[in-house]
Every structure is written in structure tokens, then in C-alpha cells.
Symmetry: C2
Subunit: 347 residues, 2 copies
């Protein structure tokens, strides 16, 4: 039995309490200052206010003002903030965490610097805090389904394999399946753009509804064409940034689950129907803007690097988010002819 | 305007008449001896009997007994047979086709030899016929949706790039988007196992129904876990057989469209609910067995090569098709730890 503190009581952070409690650990769920209502509600009802799923018996809830007691004697901290909360976590939470305690982050995305360079969150935290011990979770796993104990396959990544093994032994269950990798760039880059490309694929859902009416039967050839292009562009990003190509399996899985995951699909579908981003956001009041901001940051970074043309589908999504109205660039899905010598008979 | 003969009036072969006619070509659709009813019905009604979609005005229909007139003066032949028809095509149709006429095949799969070697269809045709000019279509494209002129992205592959360009110019439309590649092994291997892995992913659909009842809301974490593993195994097969890794984009797209494509999904779902293969086939009377046979052939070939252990999910599907009852091997989804040196900050 270990002591695990989760800082950030959003859906994904909170869902991590389920495998942690199922392994018998002492679990302390600490809200950020934005999570006051979630923590108050959970204390009263044990239900998570936004995820609408019960949290396990034995989880102890803390408002952020109580973070010091929550961190007393912890063995591991799980960082549950969204990409908007990264700098808050760095400045307000990290200084309170003993340097020998590893920090496992659920946040997905990359930091995009103004000079066009990109950085993983573990690297960003380490560079700015001066301490080490940062680990991250990649791969396809929605909070709702983790909370329902659905089979989920993820990757824990970070610089020290021994610590990765320890983190896995703390959290792996018969439904939460954890691969390990020290290829932080590979895992994090592979899954960073899942929201952007899930928007891209679901444009095809809206496009069919625009042609055939809102109750049209779904068509999968167009979605699959955009899915294939998304895998192509995510692979190119892996190559560009030096991650191992085998990590595309995490990226493809994460894209798959995000396409069917709710808010991103609804936004992509509306954009595919021909609505502008402002019209779409009006229909989706209350939708998280995280996927939009991440996409815009990445588009800007690749533009600054002069490499945006390698990512025509991402570029297209960026244009839509900038308010442009444009049809899906189908011609961009045709790859340059691949001319490789040497046909071989039996292989 | 060119003359195009399609031999094999199944759904995919017949659907190829739509882009061909939209480009203004003279199109002759020739049934195999198994397609007599399809051809007779199309002559009367212009509807395709099994696809239940209209075929374009101007397509001329031929029973196989009339194949010689159908082939008179043709510029291109499209081979529309399923993998069961490959040897028939080789023996009965190919000798009638002038050697300078290229043959473009829609058949997906690989030939598995008893010694464990594998072979693409273009290579198989060339080796056994002694003539050249074989090309193939890979990538995500269901016949129904091609017939509805949905946007579809495919790859034409074969040994001669100039001929590939010519084939593309004959068939590309504003909805049928064609990439070109001489990496026949890469394209064909990437998409060969789409049926096997679509069975694998949809096991998770049935598994959830088995737990929560037939009307259970779908869960996507488990499907995404199996999707990621499928991409991993398809990539490993590409590497094993020497195809370019970038072709996984076709494989992932083809897997995506096949998961939502009907018969394979129904079979995978029933197996996932815990039915044996015989019980499942009883419920699905009339279902094509092509996906089953291809999977079994590939499992046997990899077993003979001593390489089946590299493909645990394919191995599992093979067991189910052999009548075994077994749970999804979730532990096999955990990859061996990837330990790569060198964390880098900004990238």
C-alpha cells in the first residue's frame, strides 16, 4: 500500500483514482482552485460532478488550500491538469512536492515555443523546475471508460526505466494495461495531435450530413481516407521530431477513441457541415476549447518552422479554426508517387 | 475514351464501373460463372443484385461465355474476383487477355504457400502466367460507398510507374483519389490483414455486450486498445516482409473502414460475445467466409515460419476461428519495455 496524491480533479485525473484504489493504495484527490465545486460535490456524494461517475470508497478529497496535508508522506503524485493548467501546476503545486517523489502526468499535448520548437511536458517541467522525476501517460484511454473499468491500453513514459516499472506495479490492474517506454518524445508526439486529427476525421461525418441531411447513414470511406491521412501526418511528425516510429500504434489508437469520444466529434461534425467555427461554438456552448488551442499552437509552430506544408490536413483544420470556410482538401490525400525499385516474388 | 473490361461482377468489381463510366470510358462488365444471376439481373434492371445499387448507364453486361467479345480491343482489364477466384482468373480469364493490356486487380490478401512464404497477387499472377503488367488497388474503399460516389482514397501499385500514371488518369475522379506506388509488397501487405484485424477489434464490441447486455452503450477504450495492437502487428508484418513502413497509413485506413463495414463486424461481435465460430456462423447464414479463410491461411503461414508469436492478436483470432473459446489476450497488448537512451529538451 502506497500513498498517491492526484492534483487536479478534472475527469482524467479523478478517473486515475479507480485503478489506484483497486490496487489498495491510499488515494488523495486534490482539486485545483478551479475544482472547488467538484471537490465539494464529491465530499457530499462521492460522485464526480462533470464525469457523472462514482469515485471509489476510500478516496479522500482535498481543496487546493489543503494541498500540504494531502502531500504529506506521498510516494507518487499524479498530475491531472489539462494543458491549460501546466504552468499553474509548475508554479503552484510542484514546489510543494518533495524532489524524490515521481510525478506522473495525464496531460496530452506539446509545448509550442515562439521560435517554432516543440517540447514534451516532462521535458518542460524538468527544464523549468530543475528537478527530475517526470513521467507521462500516453495512449487511448477516456476517463469515462476508465472509471467504468473498461479494458484500456496505455503507455507510461519517462527517463528512468526502473521508476517506470515501479509506477506500473502501482497502477496496473486486470483492466488497465500499461506498456513502458523511455522514448518520451515518441509516446508524447504520437498522441499530441489526437484532438486535431479527430476534428479532421469527423469533418467527413458532417460533410455527409450536409450532402444527405442530418439523418444520413454514415459513410466510412471518407472518414477512413482522412484517418489514413491522419496516421500519415502523425507518423511524419514522429519522424520530424525524432520519436520512434513504432509509437504510431499509440497515436492511431488514441485517434480512434477520440473520434468517438464526444465533444471533439461534435465540433468536427459541425465544421464538416459547413458552419464557421463561431457558429459551431455557439451551438456547443460549454465545450472545452482545449482541442482548439492545441491545434492552433501546433499549426503556428509548424508554420514558424516552415514545415506546415508537410501536414496538409492539420493545416486545413487550422484554417477552419481561424474562421475560414473551406472544403476538405481531398487532393492533398494523394501522396507523391512512391517509386521504389525491386519487385520480389515470394517473401 | 478507352475500353475497360471488368472481369468479375461481385460488388467491388462492379463498383469500379462507376468511376470508369464517370470518366466517359466504354465499360464492359463480365461475370464469372458464379455471377450469372448478377449479370442477368443487371441486364434487366441495371441494378446490382447483391450491392443493391444502380450501375451507370452505358455499362454493357456480359456473361462469361461472351468474354471474348468483351475483351476485343480493350485497353485495360480490371480483375474483380475475390481471393477465392484468383486461380480461376489465372487459368480461365488471363489466357484470353492480350499480354500488352495491363490488369488492375481489386483483390486483397496474400497468397500463403505451404512452406510459409507469402506472395502478393501481382507477383503470383506474373510468376504463374509468365506475362507482366499486373497492378493492384489497396486502401480503404468499400464498394457500396464507391457506388455512391463517396470520397475514397486508394493506392494503385505495380512495377511500372508510367503505367500507374496512365491507370490513374483513366480512373481518378473528384471523389476517387488515387495515390501511386511501385512498393507492391508495402501496399499489399499493409491491407492484406484488414479482415483479420477488423474481426479482432470488433471482439471488443461483443465483449461489452456480453458484460452489459445486447443494448449496452459502446465502449471505445477496449476497441482502441485492440486497434492500436492491430496497427502494431500490421506494421510488424510490413517490416517482416520488407514493405515500406509508410504504407501503414493504408492499413490503418482500411482497418477503420472494415470495422464499420458490416459482415466482418457482425462476426467479430458474435465471437466477442462468447459464441463459438460454429454458433456465430449459424446466426450469420450467408455470410462470406473470405475473411475467415484469409485469416486462417495467414495464421498457418506465420506458424510455419515460426513467427506467429510476434502477432498475438492475430494468433488469438486464429484460435477463435479454429473453434476454441478464449478471452481476449489483454496481457499481449503490453509491449516489451522500450528502453531508448537520450531524452532531449526542445525538438
Amino acid at each position: 500500500m502506497k500513498r498517491i496524491a492526484i492534483i487536479g480533479a478534472g475527469m482524467m485525473g479523478s478517473a486515475m483514482s479507480i485503478p489506484a484504489r483497486d490496487k489498495g493504495h491510499e488515494v488523495r484527490l486534490v482539486g485545483t482552485p478551479l475544482d472547488d465545486a467538484i471537490i465539494a460535490h464529491a465530499r457530499e456524494t462521492r460522485m464526480h460532478l462533470t464525469m457523472q461517475r462514482p469515485l471509489p470508497v476510500g478516496v479522500v478529497f482535498y481543496q487546493f488550500g489543503e494541498v500540504r496535508s494531502a502531500l504529506a508522506g506521498v510516494d507518487v503524485v499524479i498530475c491531472g491538469v489539462s494543458s491549460f493548467g501546466v504552468d499553474w501546476f509548475l508554479q503552484q503545486a510542484l514546489p510543494l512536492i518533495p524532489p524524490e517523489v515521481p510525478v506522473l502526468s495525464v496531460t496530452k499535448g506539446l509545448v509550442a515555443h515562439t521560435d517554432g520548437t516543440l517540447e514534451t511536458y516532462p521535458s518542460y517541467y524538468q527544464r523549468l523546475s530543475g528537478r527530475g522525476g517526470f513521467y507521462a501517460i500516453g495512449g487511448p484511454c477516456t476517463s469515462y471508460e476508465l472509471a467504468e473499468r473498461r479494458h484500456s491500453a496505455v503507455a507510461f513514459c519517462g527517463s528512468d526505466m526502473a521508476t517506470l516499472h515501479r509506477l506500473r506495479s502501482l497502477l496496473s490492474t486486470n483492466y488497465y494495461h500499461i506498456s513502458l517506454s523511455t522514448d518520451v518524445v515518441g509516446v508524447e508526439v504520437a498522441v499530441a495531435l489526437k484532438n486535431a486529427y479527430a476534428l479532421a476525421v469527423t469533418l467527413a461525418v458532417g460533410m455527409v450530413q450536409r450532402q444527405d441531411g442530418p439523418d444520413a447513414a454514415p459513410a466510412y470511406n471518407p472518414q477512413a481516407a482522412l484517418f489514413g491521412q491522419s496516421v500519415r501526418e502523425m507518423t511524419a511528425l514522429l519522424k520530424l521530431l525524432g520519436g520512434g516510429p513504432e509509437n504510431i500504434a499509440y497515436g492511431a489508437g488514441d485517434l480512434y477513441v477520440t473520434i468517438f469520444g464526444g465533444r471533439t466529434r461534435r465540433l468536427g461534425t459541425l465544421l464538416g457541415r459547413g458552419l464557421t467555427i463561431n457558429q459551431a461554438l455557439q451551438q456547443l456552448e460549454g465545450v472545452t476549447l482545449e482541442s482548439i488551442v492545441i491545434t492552433q499552437r501546433m499549426v503556428q509552430a509548424l508554420r514558424t518552422r516552415g514545415q506546415l506544408a508537410q501536414f496538409p490536413l492539420l493545416h486545413h483544420v487550422g484554417k477552419l479554426l481561424d474562421g475560414e470556410q473551406a472544403d476538405i482538401p481531398w487532393a492533398a490525400l494523394i501522396t507523391p508517387p512512391q517509386d521504389k525499385p525491386g519487385a520480389r516474388p515470394c517473401i
